[in-house]
Amino acid sequence: MPNMLWMQTGACSGDSMSLLTADGPSIEGLIRSGAIELLWHPSLTDAPSGYFATLVERIESGEQGLDILCIEGSIVTGPYGSGMFDSHRGRPKMQIVSALAARARTVVAVGTCAAFGGVHAAPPNPSDSIGLQYDHADPGGLLGEDWRAGDGRPVINLAGCPVHPLTITRTLSMLATGTPFELDFLNRPQVFFASTVHQGCTRNEYHEYDVEDREPGGKACMYFNLGCQGPSTLANCNGELWNNRSSKTRAGVPCFGCTSPDFPRDGDLFRTDKIGDVPVTLPLGVSRARYMAYKNLAKAAAPVRLIKREMEP
C-alpha cells in the first residue's frame, strides 16, 4: 500500500479543506480501502507533538520510504533567499521540501500555490514565493525544470485555488492503484484539465447570442464585461460540479482563472479588459477577426427570451 505525506508550506489550508470535501472517492474511503496509508497530514494525523520532525529525519536518512509527497502552499523563499518567512523548528520549509522530494517516488503540487506560486506570488510578491517546478508560467521553481521524481515524472500539478475536491482524491487514487494518466503542457493531469470552464456553464446560451451583462448580479454572460475568464481557462468546474451542486459561473461569480499560472492576474478582477468591444483575451485558440464576425451575427440572432433575461442560468 503506497504511503502519503502531505505537507503545508505557504498555505491557507484551502486545499486540505477541499480534500475533506471530496466524497467519491473520499480521503477516509481511500484510507479505509487500503489504497493509501497516511503517513502524515498536518490537520488529520493523530501522532504526538514532534512526530513530523522525526518522520522527516527518517525519510531523509532513507530509513523510511516515501511514495507520494503532496505539497500544499507556495514555496516561500524570502527574506533574501533564506526561506525563513516559512520555517519549521528553525529550518526553512523550502529546504525540507527539497529533501523530501529527493526521496519521494511521486511529488504532487496540490493547488496553484504549490504548482506556480499562486496568490502569494502576486505582485509585489512580498514573501518571494515560487512554485515547486514553476515560477508562474516559467519552468524552474524550487526544484528546477529538469528535476524528476523517483518514478521519472516531473511534479504533478493539481492546479486550482483551491483544487477541485475530486481532482485531488481521484489523482491520489490513480497514483495509488497505478492507473496510467497523461500530463498536459503545464504538467497537470490532462483528464481534469482538457476542457474550459466555459464548457458546461449554464450561462452559455447567453454567450452564444452575445447577450452580455454589464453589471454583476444578473443572469447573462459575464465574459465581455465582468472579468470572467471561463473561455480561456482550463478546468473542469462546470463538468464536475463543486460540492455536488454548482460552480462559480453558474452562481454569477466570474471565473478568475485560478488554474492558470498567472492567477491572480494583475488587473481589476471584476472587469474585462477590451480592445474596442471585444475582450483582450479571447476564447482559447480563436482568431479576433473571425470572432468579431461571429459575435455580430450571433447578436443579430439573439432571441427575445434571452435579451429579456428570461432564462435561468
Binding site: 491557507c12 486545499d15 486540505s16 466524497d23 507533538s49 483551491p162 460552480s247 452562481a251
Partner: protein, 511 residues
C-alpha cells in the same frame, strides 16, 4: 530547581504552530507562541482595485474564507455608504452560518477529540467508548462529522457556486437571489445536519439541549442513561474526568464583535453594527458585559518580527514592515492586538457569553474559564447556529423575488475608508481598508487567532494563549498532551495569524 526550555510543535491546527515554554520542575513559567509563516497578504492588496479584496482576502484562510469575504464586503459598503437589500444580508448570513457549523464540527471531531486517544489515557475506563466514537478517520462521530460537514457546505455552493474560496458577496448585495428550489434545498441540508446532531451527538431534540441553562441542568441531562454513549456525553464526561475543566483559563476578558448583520438595518450610515447575536466585552470576574467599540482596537509589534513603533496602533494607522531578527527578544510573525490595552480572548465562548447564553454564563460563573467550557461552547454554538439557520431560511423564503443586488454608483470606490467586523468560526475578524484614487492604499486584517495567539505586547503583557498555559504542570515533558488540549480548545488557525504584514506602501522585501 530544574529550569529548561522546551520547543513544541503542534499539528491538528490550521497552519503551523510552535510553542516554546520555559519549565521549572515540569511547571510552565514562561511561554512564547510562535507564528512561523509570513505571507504578506496586505501588501498583495495595496494598489489593487478595491473590489479585488473580495478575491484576495478569502485566500487568507481556506477554512473561513466566507468570513473574510463577508468582512471585506462590509468594509467596501461602509466606505461607499451603500444600501444593501435585506435578501442579500440573509444569504450572506446563511452562508457564514454554514461555514461556521462546518468549522465547529470538523474542529471538534477531527482536531480536538483525537487527543483523548493519547497513550496516556489507555487505561481510562472510557477508553473503549472514546475510541469507537473518536478514532481519527474511523470513529463513528468522526465519519458522521465528515459526512454532514460536506453537506452543510452545499448551502454556500448554492449561493456562491463553491466552497472553499468564492466571491459571491459584492458591495451592494450578492450575485444571485434565492428561488423556491433553493429554499427547499437549504431546509433539507439544515435538517439533515440537525438530525445527525440530535441522533449521534446529543441524543435529544435540538431545542431541549438549547433550553439547558445551568451547569446543574446540563449535568442532570448528561447523566440520563439514554445518552450514555452519545458524542456530547463522551466529550463532556471524558474532558471533565481528566481535569480539562480546571486548566487553560487565560485572559478572563472575552471579545465578541457581534454575529450576523440584521437584514433590515444594515446600510447607511453603517454606524453601529446591529447584529443577530449581540457584540460585547464580557468579564469573567463579575460577569459584566460592556459595549464593543472598534475604535479601541490596537496592534503592538514589540515582540514581533516587524519594524518597531511605540505602543499600539489602530489598524487605520497600522504599519507592518517585516524585519526578521533571529536571536533577539522578538519571536513571531504575529502581531499583538489589544482592546483598550487589554488582553482578550475571542471565539465561540466569547460569542455566546456576549449574546447572553445562560448555560455558558453559568458554567463560567461556577468553574471559571477553562478548556472544557471553551470546547463545549464550540459544540453549543454549532447547535445554536443550526437553530438560527432555520429562521434565516424561513425569512429568506419570504423575500423571494425581492432585489438581491443594487449596483453601486459610478466612482463609489474612488476615495475613503471603511471597515468590517464579523464573528468568524474562531472569533472576531476585522478588515480595515483605505482607498486613494480608486486603488487600495492600506489594508489591515486582524484575525481571531491574532487575538488569541498574540505574543507579548509593548507593556510586556502575555497574549491569551501564553497566559492560558503559564502555571500548567506537565505530567510528561516528552508528550505534553495537556498543552495540546488547551491550545486546540481555541481552534487555532495559524494560517490566519501570520500574514498581517504589509500596508502602507507597496514594499518589496528580499532580492
Amino acid at each position: 530547581m530544574a529550569r529548561k526550555t522546551l520547543g513544541i510543535d503542534l499539528n491538528r491546527v490550521e497552519g503551523d504552530l510552535e510553542f516554546e515554554v520555559d519549565l521549572e520542575d515540569g511547571r510552565i513559567v514562561g511561554a512564547r507562541c510562535i507564528g512561523t509563516l509570513f505571507r504578506g497578504f496586505e501588501q498583495l492588496l495595496v494598489d489593487r482595485a478595491p473590489r479585488d479584496s473580495l478575491v484576495i482576502t478569502p485566500r487568507v484562510c481556506g477554512i473561513c474564507g466566507t468570513a473574510h469575504l463577508y468582512t471585506a464586503v462590509l468594509a467596501l459598503e461602509r466606505l461607499a455608504q451603500l444600501p444593501v437589500p435585506p435578501q442579500a444580508t440573509l444569504i450572506r448570513n446563511l452562508c457564514l452560518m454554514a461555514e461556521n457549523v462546518q468549522s465547529d464540527l470538523r474542529q471538534t471531531f477531527l482536531f480536538f477529540v483525537p487527543d483523548f486517544l493519547n497513550p496516556r489515557y489507555g487505561d481510562h475506563p472510557m477508553a473503549a467508548a472514546v475510541a469507537r466514537a473518536f478514532q481519527p478517520m474511523k470513529g463513528s462521530a468522526v465519519l458522521g462529522a465528515l459526512g454532514v460537514t460536506r453537506r452543510i457546505l452545499q448551502v454556500v455552493a448554492i449561493f456562491g457556486g463553491q466552497w472553499p474560496h468564492s466571491s459571491y458577496m459584492l458591495p451592494g448585495g450578492v450575485t444571485r437571489g434565492a428561488n423556491a428550489r433553493d429554499i427547499v434545498d437549504c431546509r433539507e441540508l439544515v435538517e439533515s445536519t440537525v438530525a445527525w446532531l440530535e441522533d449521534d451527538v446529543l441524543g435529544d431534540r435540538l431545542e431541549a439541549f438549547l433550553a439547558l441553562d445551568t451547569l446543574a441542568a446540563l449535568e442532570r441531562w448528561l447523566a440520563e442513561p439514554v445518552r450514555a454513549e452519545r458524542a456530547m456525553t463522551l466529550f463532556c464526561n471524558f474532558s471533565r474526568s481528566v481535569g480539562l475543566d480546571r486548566i487553560g483559563g487565560g485572559a478572563r476578558t472575552f471579545l465578541s464583535g457581534g454575529s450576523y448583520h440584521d437584514p433590515d438595518s444594515w446600510g447607511p450610515p453603517c454606524g453601529e453594527q446591529k447584529t443577530l447575536l449581540a457584540a460585547g466585552i464580557f468579564e469573567a470576574d463579575g460577569g459584566t458585559l460592556a459595549p464593543f467599540d472598534p475604535d479601541r482596537i490596537t496592534e503592538h509589534v514589540r515582540h514581533s518580527w516587524f519594524r518597531s513603533y511605540a505602543g499600539g496602533r489602530h489598524p487605520f494607522e497600522g504599519e507592518t514592515v517585516p524585519d526578521y531578527q533571529p536571536g533577539s527578544d522578538r519571536y513571531t510573525w504575529a502581531k499583538a492586538p489589544r482592546y483598550g490595552e487589554q488582553v482578550v480572548e475571542t471565539g465561540p465562548l466569547a460569542e455566546l457569553l456576549a449574546a447572553g447564553d445562560a448555560l455558558c454564563r453559568d458554567i463560567l460563573a461556577t468553574l471559571g474559564p477553562n478548556t472544557w467550557l471553551r470546547q463545549f461552547a464550540r459544540l453549543r454554538r454549532a447547535a445554536r447556529t443550526l437553530a438560527l439557520m432555520r429562521g434565516q431560511v424561513d425569512a429568506l423564503a419570504r423575500r423571494i423575488g425581492e432585489p438581491h443586488y443594487r449596483h453601486p454608483p459610478e466612482g463609489a470606490f474612488e476615495q475613503g475608508e471603511g471597515f468590517g467586523i464579523v464573528q468568524a468560526a474562531r472569533g472576531t475578524l476585522g478588515h480595515w481598508m483605505q482607498v486613494e484614487d480608486g486603488r487600495i492604499s492600506r489594508y489591515q486584517i486582524v484575525t481571531p487567532t491574532a487575538w488569541n495567539a498574540s505574543p507579548k505586547d509593548s507593556a510586556g503583557r502575555h497574549g491569551h494563549w501564553e497566559q492560558s498555559v503559564i502555571g500548567l504542570q506537565l505530567a510528561d515533558e516528552a508528550d505534553p498532551v495537556e498543552l495540546g488540549h488547551i491550545v486546540r480548545s481555541h481552534d487555532p488557525c495559524l494560517v490566519c495569524t501570520v500574514h498581517f504584514a504589509g500596508s502602507g506602501r507597496r514594499f518589496r522585501y528580499g532580492v
